[in-house]
Subunit: 304 residues, 3 copies
Amino acid sequence: MKNGTSPKYSSLGFKDIIVQFEDAVAVVTLNRAQERNTWSLTLVHELVKAFDLFDRDDRVRAVVLTAEPTAPAFCSGADISKGWDLLYQDESFHEGPHAHRDTAGIVSLAILRCRKITVVAVNGNAAGVGVTALQIPFDFRFAWSDARLLMPFVHRGVAPEGVSSYLLPRLLGHSRATALFLSGAAVKPDSPLLQGFFYKSFPTREEIFPGALAFAKELAANTSQTSVAMTKALLWRGADTPEGQHLLESRTIQTLGSAADSLEGAKSFKEKRPAKFTDTLSKNLTTWMPWWHEVGTVYRKTKL
Amino acid sequence: MKNGTSPKYSSLGFKDIIVQFEDAVAVVTLNRAQERNTWSLTLVHELVKAFDLFDRDDRVRAVVLTAEPTAPAFCSGADISKGWDLLYQDESFHEGPHAHRDTAGIVSLAILRCRKITVVAVNGNAAGVGVTALQIPFDFRFAWSDARLLMPFVHRGVAPEGVSSYLLPRLLGHSRATALFLSGAAVKPDSPLLQGFFYKSFPTREEIFPGALAFAKELAANTSQTSVAMTKALLWRGADTPEGQHLLESRTIQTLGSAADSLEGAKSFKEKRPAKFTDTLSKNLTTWMPWWHEVGTVYRKTKL
Amino acid sequence: MKNGTSPKYSSLGFKDIIVQFEDAVAVVTLNRAQERNTWSLTLVHELVKAFDLFDRDDRVRAVVLTAEPTAPAFCSGADISKGWDLLYQDESFHEGPHAHRDTAGIVSLAILRCRKITVVAVNGNAAGVGVTALQIPFDFRFAWSDARLLMPFVHRGVAPEGVSSYLLPRLLGHSRATALFLSGAAVKPDSPLLQGFFYKSFPTREEIFPGALAFAKELAANTSQTSVAMTKALLWRGADTPEGQHLLESRTIQTLGSAADSLEGAKSFKEKRPAKFTDTLSKNLTTWMPWWHEVGTVYRKTKL
């Protein structure tokens, strides 16, 4: 398919999300405004499917996730009015405690594994998974400066989910992550505890999505898809020594340095014009990723 | 023992610390004001014993460490007026260099291993171990905004102790940690180098402890003991890949999600009332911790 | 050689750098002002040689790297006007993709392995390797507050180099590192994305180097060479558990605690006078470093 052709994500029959595609940017809008965009198993499955498609669809260069700015909340987390049942609705629950897979983590991993630029436009209040799965795994976070953000795990008898206990200390350092998780305090984007977390914030809810979308389009138009993917891999799947990372970077640079995008990058720079990148993940990045050990997380039933 | 019964820590015969208990919060006050609360082997042994008890005593939900606000210092570090002898006073010193165990590190590990919420109220100047062992390993740091903090290792011919060379770069990032350790500069809590280190600061020495105690009591009253312990374990003993952490979080959530505290967490949220958590570490968190490899640090004499 | 004797670095025939020595501080000035201090293979080889000498020369206690404040730039990165050829000029290129070694990474590792205090005085604009290799691996960064800093890898079809994908997330956290790498945005030292990166900034280009040099001389005069080396090793080559780090710190403290510098450190402190440290790396730190696994990065030709 030609790069730029609009994929028909609308035909995939998503219910709890709406997916649109524009200028190489896929836009995901949470579609449960009446339920305060709370978590649902349908939402989980659709987000995983969508981010997996974005990862593999060469036409997608960036993704923006958002909610209706008029929704009562960006995402109010899990609906626990009937208890924590949602956590146990997977079919393998009765096999024992080793069989459960946190649905927030399943979504976070899908976002983290998406090799395109990911942007979230937080245009309302958020709690629980609305922060852990729907903000923390993204590359860029845009926020309404008056949004109320809450990770109340210690006040609810549970614990951090959505791989947030791995990602947040790495994003902001353990001091801020510990304070956020153990206080369970509600914070706003300008809180000292969140310094460095949001790329940009805006005073009104209506501004967030247009701001995030313009940013995503700008990056989609001017970045190399293969560069982005390799940069993300180096950042999250790097070696555990400086020397090991040097070897990874060396091979990355040589792989990219002999491909079309880097030639265009140098040429456009010399000619003082915007670059037109054409390399794609499916065609030009097939030979040596991943270099890391993947821990399998899919649960396989132990009984027929 | 009934939850809430006051444990008689006063009967344990502590000399260099005073331990009190109030509303599920254990308060440790350094009791060497006349010696500027400098380090002593007695202090080391008592702090280790106290934090080990707090960890195992289900009645303790939070710990606050502080000094007399009228003391000449919060803790002036090691008393090196007679050289570094304190470092070598352990009985195994003559067995060789492999036998020594840094006393600051012994205390830091005891604090780090305490699965309850730990808060330090730094109401005076601090140096050396007064920062490394008595501030860095805590979950929350409250400070007098005029406190002078000093880690002068490079100016004294020694090196970071108290596991600070592991913890500080993770708390604040390597850029700030390197600058603090290699400059050896005296800093105040509002220094750009300490951004994110203190949870809150107050302008007068008298305010710190009451502020920290009120905060600790609030958390002690409204947090699940098992949630707190698991959150701390996920933060400091996590997996080294996102997928591995997802497995740990999944099992954590299922373990906690079927216990009384999470049911009460959901119920109280629905009923818009404060939760009353009853799960305890000794009764409800016995089955699968620790999941990590513990490196043994106790020195065992090699000769009879 | 006597500590303080001026080493004749000028006799080493460096071309793309100028090395001077003053009060135990080695000063490296980039000497390609007419080429905007762009990268060259000569520059690479000379920087590696220089930092290797600084590491092993006991007379050197600190290093400052800078550029002429009148140069068009501190370092404009690689000169890609002829494409990315520089990346492939090493002799082993034709052996295959496993043979390449990123020249920026070779320099970064040399700086990172230098056990002395390293300071960079960024007195002009910088791009690419001018940030990754010539700023990120240093202990302290001083900057002109109006300097324009650029890491445009995703806009050029390449990826982070100079071990920056390992170091930057550790220096500042993954949130800021990701935003810097994936946006490719030009930033100034006071950008929220760079908080904690620079130790100090100055409003005019002329002030940076004198400020950095005075700071380096102050540290060179008042720090123990062995303390500095061990602190750097603990920070960048530490254990991966708190307990493991406790063992490393314990042995470090005992090694240093029985040497002349720590005795002088305690004595001078007691006598309220500046310390005069005499221990050196070549004489007093020979017995047990390194404790870590070194990944070999030197390429060895596979054919005769």
